[in-house]
């Protein structure tokens, strides 16, 4: 089944935040961001801006009737700066004017004087100064300290990954509309309606039932609108509540890029120990997470980093320590993978370091260390593993050996073109690691003509979750998909939603839809059994008819519904689902946090142009553990999209902050995400379809985040290609592998000469 939004998408008829028809009298907002990264505000002058044409009011923190606080996990983030600014782009004031242009023009007239304070952009410096968001966390398995002496090989190193801009093509935004009795309806481009509702209520100082948050869909989210949609929702709510007028704020791209957080950059130290059979028996890793200026979701992301510190390998002795470091960058936030990819990059770097030093291909070490069912993760959960199944299938199906031989032959016969091959196995845990968030609700109404409306807490942002919800309802009722509509996500229909995140949205909400539909179906079957003078167990719903003992009856769906209604059977259900079995004890750092894991293996082939230092991804061939996919077309799209996003993170997407904490890659002209020609020339996806029982909806495993991590394979394939040209070169583990880094690695000897001769000034850029 195709995505149910496809028709309106291709016709340009789908409604996003900026497309909502405006009410008469709608005002427009624009935030005034801090021009510097850290300092004390000594003077804020809004007088000239207030006199600008069309300006209605300029809000500062003093105009906030409630609490000036939007922090989620930790209360450390004001909506509008008070005495201090902590990052460049931090909102200081919110201008409301009669038009968007007037609001933007007035923002430029606001003057602020700030006494600068020292700016930290490097997480290691922050850690050294004790600037941590939360106390460090440590996961321990076995006894790493006493196993080093048993290791045949020990290697140490560092590995860095840069951040990543979400670059949802629809920017952030909100539209608040006053209702009677001080209520507000808040349209928001948010992945987390509850969080946006809560933030807005807190700012205004009203209980949560005063604000209704409504979301039709998002033009992309990827984690960037999980907590970071709240500020704009709260600003519009504040202004609409105060002015009694509808207020809209749809962010300009450059404002969005400057003011919002991104994927966390990490800097990490690793130490890996192998025995004589290349089994990794010891692994010690320290993560320095660059959290930015406020907690946002960083503590949860830090936790997921620890959960994924050994990727898909079984290592009996592990100590992983993680610091969430407070710097003066915009608060970094959720991004597809949520700290997991950063950890997996370090693990792969450690293995590669070992392989390079031992003169082996990394895949030899990777393969012998893949986990198997029953192996313990460092957090105590036992694996139900498909790691070997995925690896072996990929190796055989795609003929890894032939791929390698071809690359070697190519490299022998080409002087300036070199191929590189890598294998990237993944293992990703599914569930919110905060157990309490693993709950969802659905509301299903069957109308008297047999048509059905479904509401859930899931946000549709392109991942096709609404299509899957519809499939669940259609399957339980066994009716045509045309009879079912998915409604907007609305906090008055579904309260207390968990964010659409953690790849778990379809699982959680799908199970809730399943429970709701099943409850209605049971009532219908009981009713019709009575009418047919039989037991409920003898009747079933099938293809829009009631079947009795396997035979079609005269009772079609429409007749059944109308008759049930007349007999006063409840045709509506609100159902609640909470994932069973999962728990996590943060004191012991042990538990069973994940409903299940998703596995996969990708083989990546790249070609590096060693004259120009540019490259192409020739092919990514992968085997992915789908469980039993309930929508292969949508799931395949998630794999392709996640993979290319991961390749972007590992190759061309380079966030550049200068030392003053100003974003230099602040527009699409300076921050490049993959275009159609950057996608691999070939992507082949083989479904590992398993029947194993799991907690996924219809055994269809979550597919949102895991494929991003296949992109890490591109980094290591590029590395291999570079080494084919220049075996002596030393390549630091420092992603992304931009064309600059490639060329500098290809010609490391010439670089030294050039630097000696010409470099006048040290590069005044801090790449964080």
């Amino acid at each position: 089944m195709k995505n149910i939004d496809s028709r309106t998408h291709t016709r340009g008829e789908s409604v996003y935040l900026d497309d909502i028809p405006l009410l008469q009298g709608t005002l427009f907002g624009a935030a005034f961001p801090s021009p510097i990264a850290h300092g004390h505000i000594t003077k804020l002058d809004i007088s000239e801006a207030e006199q600008m044409p069309g300006v209605v009011k300029i809000f500062t923190y003093q105009d906030i009737p409630g609490e000036n606080q939007i922090g989620g996990i930790i209360q450390d983030e004001p909506l509008l700066a008070e005495q201090e600014v902590d990052f460049c782009g931090m909102p200081i004031a919110f201008v409301v004017a009669e038009s968007n242009e007037e609001a933007r023009a007035a923002v430029k007239k606001i003057k602020v004087e700030i006494d600068p304070l020292p700016v930290i952009t490097d997480p290691r410096i922050a850690q050294a100064q004790g600037a941590l968001i939360v106390p460090p966390r440590t996961f321990i398995l076995g006894d790493v300290d006493n196993i080093w002496q048993a290791c045949t090989h020990i290697f140490e190193g560092t590995a860095d990954t840069n951040g990543q801009e979400h670059l949802y093509i629809e920017t952030q935004g909100a539209y608040a509309i006053p209702q009677e009795n001080n209520g507000l309806k808040l349209h928001s481009s948010t992945q987390s309606p509850r969080a946006t509702q809560q933030a807005a209520c807190r700012i205004i100082g009203v209980p949560m039932h005063f604000i209704e948050v409504d979301v039709t869909r998002l033009g992309g989210g990827f984690g960037g609108k999980e907590d970071q949609a709240n500020a704009w929702g709260a600003m519009c709510a504040l202004a609409a509540y105060s002015l009694k007028k509808p207020v809209k704020y749809s962010l300009h791209r450059m404002d969005d890029m400057a003011m919002t957080g991104k994927r966390h950059p990490y800097s990490s130290d690793f130490k890996i120990g192998l025995d004589e059979n290349l089994k990794i028996i010891a692994y010690e890793v320290t993560f320095y997470q660059n959290a930015g200026a406020a907690a946002d979701l960083s503590p949860a992301i830090l936790e997921r980093t620890l959960f994924h510190c050994t990727n898909t390998y079984f290592i009996p002795n592990v100590r992983a320590r993680a610091y969430s470091c407070r710097t003066h960058l915009p608060p970094n936030t959720a991004f597809r993978g949520f700290g997991g990819p950063q950890a997996m990059f370090v693990m792969e770097a450690a293995i590669t370091k070992a392989a390079d030093s031992l003169g082996l291909d990394a895949s030899i070490i990777q393969k012998v260390n893949l986990n198997k069912t029953g192996d313990e993760f460092p957090y105590g959960q036992l694996a139900v593993s498909e790691a070997h199944a995925c690896w072996n299938k990929a190796e055989e199906l795609y003929n890894l050996e032939a791929i390698r031989e071809k690359a070697t032959a190519f490299n022998t016969s080409n002087k300036f073109l070199k191929k590189g091959v890598s294998v990237m196995p993944i293992c990703f845990g599914i569930s919110f690691t905060n157990t309490s968030m693993n709950q969802a609700r659905a509301l299903v109404h069957v109308y008297t003509d047999g048509s059905v409306n479904v509401s859930t807490g899931a946000i549709e942002m392109g991942q096709g979750v609404n299509t899957k919800m519809l499939q669940v309802a259609a399957q339980v009722f066994s009716i045509a998909q045309e009879k079912i509509r998915l409604l907007t996500t609305n906090t008055t229909r579904i309260a207390n939603t968990s964010p659409s995140a953690a790849s778990a949205t379809a699982d959680l909400n799908g199970k809730a839809v399943y429970l709701a539909c099943t409850a209605i179906a049971e009532r219908l079957l009981n009713f019709v059994a009575e009418e047919l003078h039989t037991e409920a167990s003898n009747v079933a719903l099938k293809n829009e008819y009631v079947y009795l003992d396997g035979e079609r009856t005269e009772w079609d769906w429409k007749r059944l519904i109308l008759a049930a209604f007349l007999r006063r059977i409840n045709l509506s259900e609100h159902a609640h689902y909470a994932t069973p079995e999962i728990y996590f004890d943060k004191l012991k750092e042990k538990g069973h946090p994940f409903a299940y894991h998703v596995y996969g293996t990708a083989i990546t082939e790249v070609t590096v142009d060693c004259l120009r230092g540019i490259y192409e991804v020739d092919a990514v061939k992968l085997v992915h553990d789908f469980g039993t996919s309930m929508n292969p077309a949508i799931d395949k799209g998630q794999i392709e999209g996640g993979l290319v996003q991961g390749i972007g993170w590992m190759t061309m997407e380079e966030i550049v902050f200068d030392k003053a904490g100003r974003l230099r890659s602040n527009a699409l002209s300076t921050y490049k995400i993959p275009d159609i020609y950057s996608a691999p020339k070939e992507i082949t996806i083989e479904f590992l379809q398993t029947q194993t029982d799991n907690l996924a909806i219809f055994r269809s495993k979550a597919v949102g985040e895991p494929p991003l991590m296949y992109g890490i394979g591109t980094y290591f394939a590029l590395r291999n290609a570079i080494k084919a040209f220049n075996p002596a070169t030393q390549i630091p583990f420092d992603a992304p592998m931009t064309p600059e880094k490639v060329l500098l690695a290809l010609y490391s000897e010439e670089v030294a000469k050039l630097k000696e001769k010409h470099e006048q000034a040290v590069r005044n850029m801090a790449i964080s």
């Binding site: 629809e170 033009g219 004259l611 061309m652």
Partner: protein
């Protein structure tokens, strides 16, 4: 008053000519299928088609409406995604759906419009050309493979088009709505009622060409600025040969140049270079003169034209003067040009048969990106001796550079690895790159060396240079 046809209807607006087409479409006409992604021509979510009569042929090209002043579409046909919709899905939309080429959907209308532009063009209906038509559209969800599959399917729809006018063919086969068949006539009628000259605004107003530079990150100001629009002036839209001179009018776009028979005949390798320059919609809008006047140290055409020894003719409408292109640049973004002057023509001499040319560009992303360093080289050899050589480079100094000393040194020499090493040393002494978001100083220095070596490898393989130890 600006008049044009928007989808099926003639619109007349008294908004200033500099008003943005994107804002006009979305907020004046409430056609919300055209999306706002970046407002700087880098994502394609706001793509529209602009149809105009050229030599009585109806020609459609894709534009990013975020950089298009409405004055530039005066008298033309503007097509948004709504203008492609029929009661049933059109086959472009069907292909996108069948291939699951839409996820969040925000970029989708832009892709559909660009693909419709491909269908309306006279390009050979190959998969490669269909994909080239969407090279300016960014999608963050799909990873593009499904979109490429849809594009391939769409190219199949056009296999039997033959020589038929695209609009007629597409309407007949229900690929696009019927009204496209009447557009040619309606544009002719619109032209009759139109003044033949562009409004002459006071001399103090800036000149505005394709908009692809002036509107980037400055759309707020530009909408309020009055300007002298050059884009539709017929005398600036000429591209022709005069004796041995190739003459490019001041409003000739990159696509005009790319599609011209002159380029295809005399510079067949240029087609490869065009692909490295921005994207299809930007090439459709951007003028060659704009690339020059923008004075970016990294302008792709500027660098090519310097190696071609181009000259420009500047005019204030009354008096004209000619200078060498390389002499135009006096410092970072400083030009030997008075405010009242604009480029009337650019010209260069067609080279002789011995002469060979190569252009190299490296950027973070190979397509739709600004170069870290670019370079062009023209060379003619006789019996393996360099008769003439011109090397230019961008991104290595405050201005686009002609590497004069390097070129002089190489003239008259037989190239060996040793000579090349010395030439590169000279090149390094001529340049002064700085570290910025496009790369560190060291990278740019190394990259220029590599690009010059690449020129030789491509243009003079007979030297059998080792190129690895310099």
């Amino acid at each position: 008053m600006v008049n044009f046809i928007l989808n099926t209807k003639i619109v007349a607006t008294d908004k200033p000519e500099t008003f943005l087409l994107l804002d006009f479409i979305r907020y004046q006409k409430n056609l919300t299928g055209t999306k706002i992604g970046c407002r700087e021509g880098d994502c394609g979510a706001c793509t529209v088609l602009v149809g105009e009569l050229k030599n009585n042929e109806l020609q459609y090209r894709s534009f990013t409406s975020c950089l298009t002043p409405i004055g530039n579409v005066a008298g033309k046909h503007v097509v948004t995604v709504e203008g492609l919709n029929m009661d049933d899905l059109n086959p472009i939309q069907q292909a996108m759906i069948e291939e699951s080429a839409t996820q969040c959907g925000f970029c989708t209308p832009g892709f559909v419009v660009s693909l419709a532009g491909f269908c309306l063009s006279t390009k050979e209906p190959t998969e490669q050309n269909a994909i080239a038509a969407i090279d300016g559209n960014i999608c963050r969800c799909t990873g593009y493979k499904s979109i490429a599959r849809a594009a391939a399917k769409i190219s199949q729809l056009l296999q039997n088009r033959g020589a038929e006018e695209p609009a007629t063919f597409l309407a007949k086969h229900k690929i696009l709505p019927e009204y496209f068949t009447s557009i040619k006539e309606r544009l002719q009628e619109l032209a009759l009622g139109k003044k033949s000259t562009i409004t002459i605004n006071p001399e103090t107003y800036p000149f505005l060409g394709g908009g692809t530079d002036l509107y980037v990150q400055k759309h707020d100001q530009m909408q309020k600025t009055e300007a002298r629009l050059l884009y539709n002036l017929p005398e600036l839209n000429q591209l022709y040969l005069e004796d041995n001179k190739c003459i490019i009018g001041g409003a000739v776009t990159v696509t005009d140049l790319k599609d011209s028979s002159i380029i295809q005949e005399h510079f067949p390798s240029f087609l490869n270079y065009f692909r490295l320059v921005s994207s299809t919609p930007i090439r459709n809008m951007a003028t060659i003169a704009g690339n020059i006047i923008n004075a970016s140290p990294i302008g792709d055409f500027t660098v090519m034209l310097i190696a071609l020894r181009a000259k420009i003719i500047l005019t204030d409408g009354i008096n004209s003067r000619q200078i060498r292109l390389r002499d135009l640049y006096k410092g970072y973004k400083q030009l030997d040009k008075k405010p009242e002057e604009y480029i009337e023509k650019i010209w260069f001499e067609l080279p002789d048969r011995n002469w060979k040319f190569n252009f190299e560009k490296v950027s973070k992303r190979t397509h739709l990106d600004i170069a870290s360093v670019n370079s062009a080289m023209g060379i003619s050899l006789q019996a393996d001796i360099i008769q003439r050589i011109r090397i230019s480079a961008g991104g290595v100094s405050p201005i686009p550079m002609y590497l004069e000393k390097t070129s002089t040194y190489l003239t008259g020499r037989l190239v060996t690895d040793q000579i090349l090493t010395e030439a590169l040393e000279i090149a390094q002494s001529e340049i002064s790159p700085i570290s910025d978001a496009r790369g560190s100083e060291t990278y740019k220095r190394l990259l220029l060396n590599q690009l010059i070596k690449t020129h030789f490898l491509i243009l003079a393989p007979q030297f059998e240079l080792e190129l690895t130890d310099t």
